[in-house]
C-alpha cells in the first residue's frame, strides 16, 4: 500500500512537472525569406523572457505565400501567428473572421501612427487585426559617386531632375535604372513622381471620398510626367525587369533607381562599396512641398482558429515594444512601425525626415480592397502607356471604369 502511494505520488509529481515545463510551440509564417536570421534573433529575445513559449518561424517564397496561406486557413492548418500584408491584403482574411481582433489585446496599438494603423483596420468592422511591422516610403535613389564626379547636386524641381538625368546620360551612364517589364515597378515609379503633380493629399482625399475620380485632369496630367522619363531609361526598357533594375543600380551602371526604401538594405548587402543616397520626388516649382508616398507594409496577426491565442498575444505585444522595433530597424534597415524608434542609419534618418510630408500610396491605401484593384488596372495600363499602346486618357479611363465597378463612392 505504501509502495502504491509512493508510486502514485511519483507519477503525480512527474506529471505536474511535465505540465509546468511543457512548452507551447507557436507556428509563425512569413514571406520574408530574406529576413529569417533577424526574425530568429528577435524570437530568441522573446523566448528568453517567455521560456514556456517556443516559436517556429517559417518563410515561404513571396510569390507563393498567399496561395499557401489561403489554403492553410481554409484547411484549418494555418499557423498561430501570421505575417499579413496591409489594407486589402489584410481585409481578405479579417472580413471573413479568420483573424483575432487585437484592439483590447495589444494596448500599445493606441500609440501607433495613423498611417500605420490604417493598414490594419478592417473596413468591415473598424477593428484592428494586426501589429504593423514596417513603414515603407517611395523615393529616388542616386549614386553619390557619379553625382560627385559630374559635379551634380540633388535636384529639387522636375526640370533640375531632368537636367541631371541628361548630364548623366551624356557621361555614358544609364540615367535611370527603371524598366517596365514588371508592372508593379511602374506603379512604384508613379507613386514617386505623380503625387507632387496631382496634388498629393488634396487629390487623394477627394478621390477617396468620391468627390472627383481618376479622370480628373490633375491625375491624368501627372501620369504624362512618366513619359518624359523614357529617354533616360535603359534601351529596350520595356524588357527590363525588377532584378535587372537592381543590378543596374548596384553595379553602378545606372545612376538613379526609383523604388521603395526596402531596397536600401539589399543594395548595401550586394555592394558594400556602393555610395548612394535618396531624395524625394521632384516638384514643379522651387519651394513647393515635396511629398513622398508612404504606406504600412503589413502586420503580424493571429489566426482565429489557433489553440494558443493567449501565447500568441504575448508575442504580438512583444512586437509592439520599442525593443523589438529598434532591433528590427537596426538590423533590417527598414523603418519599424513601432513609435519612438531612432534609426541609426543615415538613409533611414533621412526617410523619417522626408516623411514629414507624406501622402498615402494611392492605389494600395485607397483602391486595393476589391477586384479589379486600382493597382492591377493601373499597372497594366501604365505598361500600355509606356509602350505607346495607349495614351494617358485611355489609362485613366480604364482605371476609373474598373474601380467604379466596386468602389461605392464612385457609384453615387
Amino acid at each position: 500500500m505504501k509502495r502504491l502511494v509512493l508510486i502514485m505520488l511519483f507519477v503525480f509529481v512527474f506529471a505536474f512537472s511535465m505540465f509546468l515545463t511543457a512548452k507551447v510551440t507557436l507556428e509563425f509564417w512569413s514571406w520574408r525569406t530574406e529576413d529569417v536570421d533577424v526574425y530568429n534573433a528577435l524570437i530568441k529575445m522573446f523566448e528568453k523572457k517567455n521560456p514556456d513559449i517556443h516559436i517556429r518561424f517559417t518563410a515561404f517564397k513571396q510569390t507563393e505565400y498567399n496561395t499557401i496561406l489561403s489554403s492553410a486557413i481554409k484547411g484549418g492548418t494555418a499557423p498561430d501567428i501570421i505575417h499579413l500584408r496591409a489594407y486589402g491584403g489584410l481585409e481578405q482574411y479579417a472580413a471573413p473572421g479568420y483573424l483575432v481582433p487585437l484592439d483590447d489585446k495589444v494596448p500599445a496599438l493606441a500609440n501607433f501612427s495613423d498611417v500605420a494603423i490604417s493598414g490594419v483596420r478592417s473596413k468591415k468592422d473598424g477593428k484592428l487585426y494586426g501589429v504593423p511591422f514596417a513603414m515603407q516610403t517611395l523615393v529616388i535613389y542616386y549614386n553619390k559617386r557619379i553625382y560627385k564626379k559630374l559635379g551634380l547636386k540633388e535636384p529639387e524641381t522636375w526640370d533640375e531632375f531632368l537636367a541631371n538625368l541628361a548630364a548623366v546620360k551624356k557621361a555614358g551612364y544609364i540615367p535611370l535604372a527603371n524598366g517596365g517589364k514588371d508592372g508593379w515597378t511602374l506603379e512604384v515609379l508613379h507613386g514617386v513622381i505623380c503625387p507632387n503633380f496631382y496634388g498629393a493629399n488634396g487629390f487623394f482625399n477627394a478621390v477617396v471620398a468620391g468627390k472627383t475620380n481618376f479622370e480628373d485632369e490633375r491625375y491624368r496630367k501627372s501620369l504624362e510626367k512618366l513619359l518624359e522619363l523614357r529617354p533616360y531609361m535603359p534601351d529596350n526598357f520595356m524588357g527590363v525587369g525588377y532584378t535587372d533594375m537592381q543590378m543596374l543600380f548596384v553595379n553602378e551602371i545606372a545612376a538613379h533607381f526609383i523604388g521603395g526604401i526596402w531596397e536600401a538594405g539589399y543594395f548595401k548587402s550586394l555592394n558594400p562599396n556602393l555610395d548612394f543616397d535618396i531624395f524625394a520626388g521632384p516638384v514643379a516649382h522651387k519651394g513647393d512641398i515635396r511629398y513622398v508616398s508612404s504606406f504600412n507594409d503589413g502586420s503580424y496577426g493571429i489566426f482565429s482558429g489557433s489553440k494558443h491565442i493567449k501565447e500568441a498575444v504575448k508575442f504580438l505585444r512583444f512586437t509592439a515594444t520599442t525593443e523589438f522595433g529598434q532591433y528590427f530597424t537596426d538590423h533590417l534597415l527598414q523603418i519599424s512601425a513601432v513609435p519612438g524608434i531612432h534609426p541609426k542609419d543615415k538613409i533611414l534618418k533621412k526617410v523619417l525626415e522626408l516623411n514629414k510630408h507624406s501622402t498615402p500610396y494611392i492605389m494600395l491605401v485607397g483602391f486595393r480592397w476589391h477586384q479589379p484593384t486600382g493597382s492591377s488596372l493601373l499597372q497594366s495600363a501604365l505598361q500600355g502607356m509606356m509602350a505607346d499602346k495607349i495614351d494617358s486618357y485611355e489609362v485613366v479611363k480604364r482605371v476609373q471604369k474598373g474601380v467604379e465597378t466596386w468602389y461605392k463612392p464612385f457609384q453615387k
Binding site: Q62, T63, N66, T67, S70, I73, K74, G88, G89, E91, Q92, Y93, A95, P96, G97, Y98, G179, G180, K181, D182, G183, W184, E187, P234, D235, N236, F237, M238, G239, V240, G241, D244, M247, L248, R368, W369, H370, Q371, P372, T373, S375, S376, L377, Q379, S380, A381, Q383, G384, A387, K389, R398, K401, G402, T405
Partner: protein
C-alpha cells in the same frame, strides 16, 4: 464458368481501383468542386451566397473580366495555330527525314529529343535570361554580328512577347512530335512504299498519297495534344512573364488568367475564387468538347492498314 469470370472481374477491379481512386480524388472531384465553387459568391476565401451562373455571366459580359477573358482566349488560339503551323509541321518534316535514314539520323533523333526531357521551368528561366535586353546572350550576339537592328525587346514588346515564348516552347517540345511522326512512319509496312516506288511514284506524291494518310492516327494524337496543351499553357508564361501575362496583357492566356483570378496575383491581387473557378470550368468544358470533336473528325479520315 461464371465464377471464373467474376473472379477475373474482381482481379481487374483490384488492379484498376488504385488508379481510379487517384483519378477520382485528384481529377474528377476537383472538377465538380470547382463547378460547385463557381456558383457561389466569395468573400475572400470564404464561400458566401449561391448566385447561380452570375460568375459566368461576369466573365462573358462585365468589364474588365470580359476583356481579359477574350484577350486570353485569343492568345490560346494563337498558341494553337502557331504550334500546329510551325512545331508540328517541322516535326512531321523531321520525322519524315529521320525515317528516310538520312546520314546521322540516329544521332539527330537523340538530339531532337533532349530538350523535351528538360524541366519546363528551367527552360523558361534560362531563355528569359538569354533574351534579357541588357545582359542577354541573344541580343549581344546579334549586335556582335552586326545585326543590331534585329535586337529586340523580346519579352517586353507586346507584339513580340507571345511569339517569342511560343518559339522557346517549340525549341523545347519539337522532339516530341518528331518522334511520334517518326514512329508512325516507321510502322508503315515497307511493301507499301516499295509498291509505290514500283508504280513510279515520286517522293512528293509518296508522302501525300501513301505516308500521310497512313499516319493519320499520329496526326490525331498530336493535334489533340497540341490543342489541350495550348488551352492549358501556363508555366512558360508564368516563368518568363509572371502571372500578369505582361506586358500589357500581351501574353495572358486562360491559364494565367485563371491562376491570377482564383489565387490573386502577387502584388495586386485579392483572390476571386468564384470567378476563377468559373474560368476553370470554362477551360475544361472547352478542352473536353474540342478534343472530343477533333478526335472524332480526324478518326473518320483514318485509313486501315
Amino acid at each position: 464458368m461464371r465464377s471464373r469470370r467474376a473472379k477475373q472481374g474482381l482481379w481487374i477491379a483490384i488492379f484498376v481501383l488504385p488508379a481510379l481512386i487517384m483519378v477520382g480524388i485528384f481529377i474528377i472531384a476537383p472538377l465538380f468542386l470547382s463547378f460547385y465553387n463557381s456558383l457561389y459568391n466569395w468573400d475572400g476565401i470564404k464561400r458566401r451566397d449561391f448566385i447561380g451562373l452570375r460568375n459566368f455571366a461576369s466573365i462573358f459580359s462585365q468589364y474588365p473580366y470580359k476583356d481579359r477573358f477574350f484577350n486570353a482566349i485569343k492568345h490560346n488560339i494563337i498558341w494553337f495555330i502557331a504550334t500546329m503551323l510551325f512545331q508540328n509541321s517541322i516535326g512531321l518534316f523531321f520525322g519524315y527525314l529521320l525515317s528516310r535514314r538520312i546520314k546521322g539520323s540516329e544521332i539527330y533523333k537523340r538530339i531532337f529529343f533532349i530538350p523535351v526531357t528538360f524541366s519546363l521551368v528551367a527552360v523558361g528561366f534560362l531563355w528569359a535570361l538569354y533574351l534579357n535586353p541588357i545582359w542577354g546572350i541573344v541580343n549581344k550576339t546579334l549586335k556582335q554580328i552586326g545585326l543590331s537592328g534585329l535586337a529586340h525587346t523580346w519579352l517586353g514588346d507586346a507584339r513580340l512577347a507571345t511569339p517569342t515564348i511560343i518559339a522557346v516552347n517549340i525549341w523545347r517540345w519539337l522532339g516530341f512530335p518528331t518522334l511520334i511522326f517518326y514512329a508512325g512512319i516507321n510502322n508503315i509496312p515497307e511493301e507499301y512504299i516499295e509498291a509505290a516506288y514500283l508504280d513510279g511514284s515520286n517522293e512528293w506524291s509518296l508522302f501525300w498519297k501513301i505516308i500521310f494518310p497512313l499516319i493519320i492516327p499520329s496526326v490525331t494524337i498530336i493535334t489533340v495534344l497540341t490543342f489541350i496543351g495550348s488551352l492549358n499553357v501556363f508555366e512558360q508564361i508564368y516563368v518568363m512573364e509572371g502571372l500578369d501575362g505582361g506586358p500589357f496583357y500581351s501574353t495572358d492566356t486562360l491559364g494565367t488568367l485563371f491562376y491570377r483570378t482564383a489565387f490573386g496575383s502577387v502584388d495586386t491581387g485579392l483572390p476571386e475564387i468564384g470567378i476563377g473557378s468559373a474560368i476553370g470550368v470554362v477551360i475544361y468544358v472547352l478542352t473536353f468538347t474540342a478534343s472530343a470533336t477533333s478526335a472524332l473528325l480526324l478518326r473518320r479520315k483514318e485509313v486501315e492498314l
